[in-house]
């Protein structure tokens, strides 16, 4: 990523210096310390003033931890359940029961790949209707067996393709929205990377909505928005800024309930650090939500949705 260049250059220099050392020389050790100090300062300066567009680059980083990474780091005994029972399975979405400490939960998440091959198999985390219908089926199971639902959002968007349209991409998303708004178990949603429009929202209705520090959530990709409203796709960084897609902006706008800290430079620099923070948030919030009766839970969830929107009462 462009903005990381100065940091990476210094890191390389430091590595070279360390490698060139066969015996410890005090004057070089001094230089190493100085260089390390410089890197830390620079890191802090670069990564604490990221623009929306730069954060989006981190959210899309190829090494960024995926849903299954967090599932493995945070939960135990996860069993993946597959298929929509209608016509297929969609590897762009994963789901199944697991333990969060001693609590039984149902997990759903968009799943991107780690490399090109896996990304092709998982369609870069862009679901088809069969994926949304699989998650809807698992939501029903969660409700039936009283398992709180934990959703990880990480998708560029629902896949725009011919097959997807034929099989009712729109209906599949709409039905998930309706289902989640009325599901009789606690729902905690965490955006761990990309929150691309309707495809993200299809796992995004819940009692508590969190975002990782460098994730983004948007009604349309900044590129798409730029090409429509600016007639110029290269204006994507301006669109990213205008759309208010960062965790920080969405916290200010009261769309989300909290931000989960990432290490400087992004989650891929220390996934265990993020997993620990994430687990703490999940456990605390689950305990809180479990205190509510189903009626209270559902009326709170409805009220929460009901209050989103800004308008004037006089023309």
């Amino acid at each position: 990523m462009d903005f990381e260049k100065p940091v990476v250059e210094l890191e390389i220099k430091l590595d070279e210096l360390k490698k060139s050392l066969s015996v410890a020389k005090p004057e070089i050790a001094e230089e190493i310390r100085f260089l390390e100090d410089q890197i830390n300062k620079l890191r802090k300066r670069v990564y604490t003033n990221l623009s929306s567009w730069e954060k989006l680059q981190i959210a899309r980083h190829p090494d960024r931890p995926r849903a299954l990474d967090y599932i493995n780091l945070i939960f135990s005994d996860f069993i993946e359940l597959r298929g929509d029972r209608l016509y297929g399975d969609d590897p762009a979405l994963v789901g199944g029961p697991a333990f969060l400490e001693n609590e039984r939960v149902m997990i759903l998440g968009h799943q991107k790949g780690k490399d090109i091959k896996e990304n092709v198999a998982r369609n870069f985390g862009m679901p088809h209707p069969k994926g949304f219908r699989k998650t809807k089926r698992l939501m029903s199971l969660a409700e039936k067996f009283h398992l709180p639902l934990i959703c990880f959002i990480d998708t560029p968007g629902a896949y725009p393709g011919i097959e997807a349209e034929k099989h009712g991409q729109a209906v599949a998303i709409a039905e998930n929205l309706m289902k989640m708004s009325n599901l009789a178990v606690p729902i905690i949603v965490v955006n761990i990377g990309e929150g691309g429009s309707g495809g993200a929202l299809a796992l995004g209705v819940g009692d508590k909505i969190f975002m990782l520090e460098n994730s983004y959530y948007s009604v349309i990709t900044p590129e798409g928005c730029a090409s429509i409203l600016w007639h110029d796709e290269t204006k994507a960084s301006e669109a990213a800024e205008a759309l208010k897609i960062t965790a920080e902006s969405l916290m200010e706008l009261n769309i989300i309930d909290g931000i989960i800290k990432e290490p400087l430079g992004g989650a891929h620099r220390d996934s265990e650090f993020v997993a620990r923070n994430l687990k703490k948030v999940l456990v605390e919030n689950l305990m809180e939500l479990k205190n509510f009766s189903v009626e209270k839970l559902l009326s709170n969830r409805y009220r929460k949705l009901r209050e989103i929107g800004v308008y004037a009462k006089n023309r």
Partner: protein, 288 residues
């Protein structure tokens, strides 16, 4: 202010007869059909509900014309008529959202892209929401989401059938995540309405796309597509760019959606009121 209070303030309702409003008659007495090229006498087009007498091409209807077409004597009681969009993100692209809103209001003489109201269809009271594509492409922002949600809640409270006539390019980008969340909000309201045994009839008119299709418009107990309407999730341009090939002819038309099981039936505009009325008879039973 809680939503319930809006409904209590009955004096705020205004009765409007859409026929009395200024009709937007296209310039000239004659025009050429955009679809078949036939020269049509304007008066005949209007009399024919803006459907080409030669090729049956359905031109878009304004919200006023639509209400006039569907409701008894064109009469209705509007709710939340004054709710209007602010610009919560101070959104500026090539032009500002604020200016787009002002232009749309000026052009359409509307406050927003949807009118929600109570009216009658062949003597039966119903709650209706009608979208108007001319207002920023019928896009759904906070106001459209709020008005549709209020209409659904009103139908739930008053135990009345719900009819929504959609016409929209999708979510309104200029309101960012506020727009996206309207999909969840409206769907949640429909979910509550569905616990009653009252029908929700969703009518998809040309075009119904994106966030509107992917929320309340696809949740009807019965989904009607108006003849020739373009219906889908992703727009044709986005699709072509993604798959890097031309779309097959007739893709995402009402007929295509019927073939793939996404809508219940296709209805000609002339038959729309009668069809809705008949469905209400089946689902609700005798009129009181």
């Amino acid at each position: 202010m809680p939503i319930s209070e809006w409904f209590q303030k009955k004096e705020k309702y205004t009765q409007i007869t859409p026929g009395a409003k200024k009709r937007s008659v296209p310039d000239g007495i004659w025009s050429k059909c955009a679809e078949c090229g036939e020269i049509i006498y304007q008066r005949e087009l209007l009399k024919n509900l803006r459907v080409c007498p030669t090729c049956d091409f359905h031109y878009k209807l304004t919200v006023g014309d639509r209400l006039n077409l569907l409701l008894d004597d064109g009469k209705f009681k509007e709710f939340n008529a004054s709710l209007s969009s602010t610009d919560p993100l101070n959104f500026v692209s090539e032009k500002s959202y604020f200016d787009s809103l002002a232009q749309s209001k000026e052009k359409t003489n509307l406050v927003e892209a949807v009118i929600t109201a109570k009216g009658k269809i062949n003597g039966r009271s119903i709650i209706i929401a009608v979208m108007d594509f001319r207002f920023i492409g019928g896009s759904m922002g906070s106001v459209v989401g709020e008005k549709v949600t209020c209409a659904v809640e009103k139908a739930t409270e008053d135990k009345l059938p719900l009819i929504i006539i959609s016409s929209s390019g999708g979510a309104r980008m200029q309101e960012g995540m506020f727009s996206l969340m309207q999909m969840a909000k409206t769907s949640a309201a429909i979910g509550r309405f569905k616990k009653t045994n009252l029908p929700y009839i969703s009518v998809l008119t040309n075009p119904t796309m994106g966030g509107v299709t992917a929320s309340f418009a696809s949740l009807g107990d019965v989904i009607i597509a108006e003849l020739g309407a373009l219906i889908g999730f992703a727009g044709p341009r986005v699709l072509e760019k993604t798959i890097k090939q031309k779309l097959p002819k007739g893709f995402q038309t009402a007929e295509f959606m019927l073939d793939y099981g996404q809508v219940d039936l296709i209805v000609h505009r002339k038959e729309l009121k009668a069809t809705i009325s008949k469905l209400l008879d089946f689902f609700v039973g005798e009129k009181q």
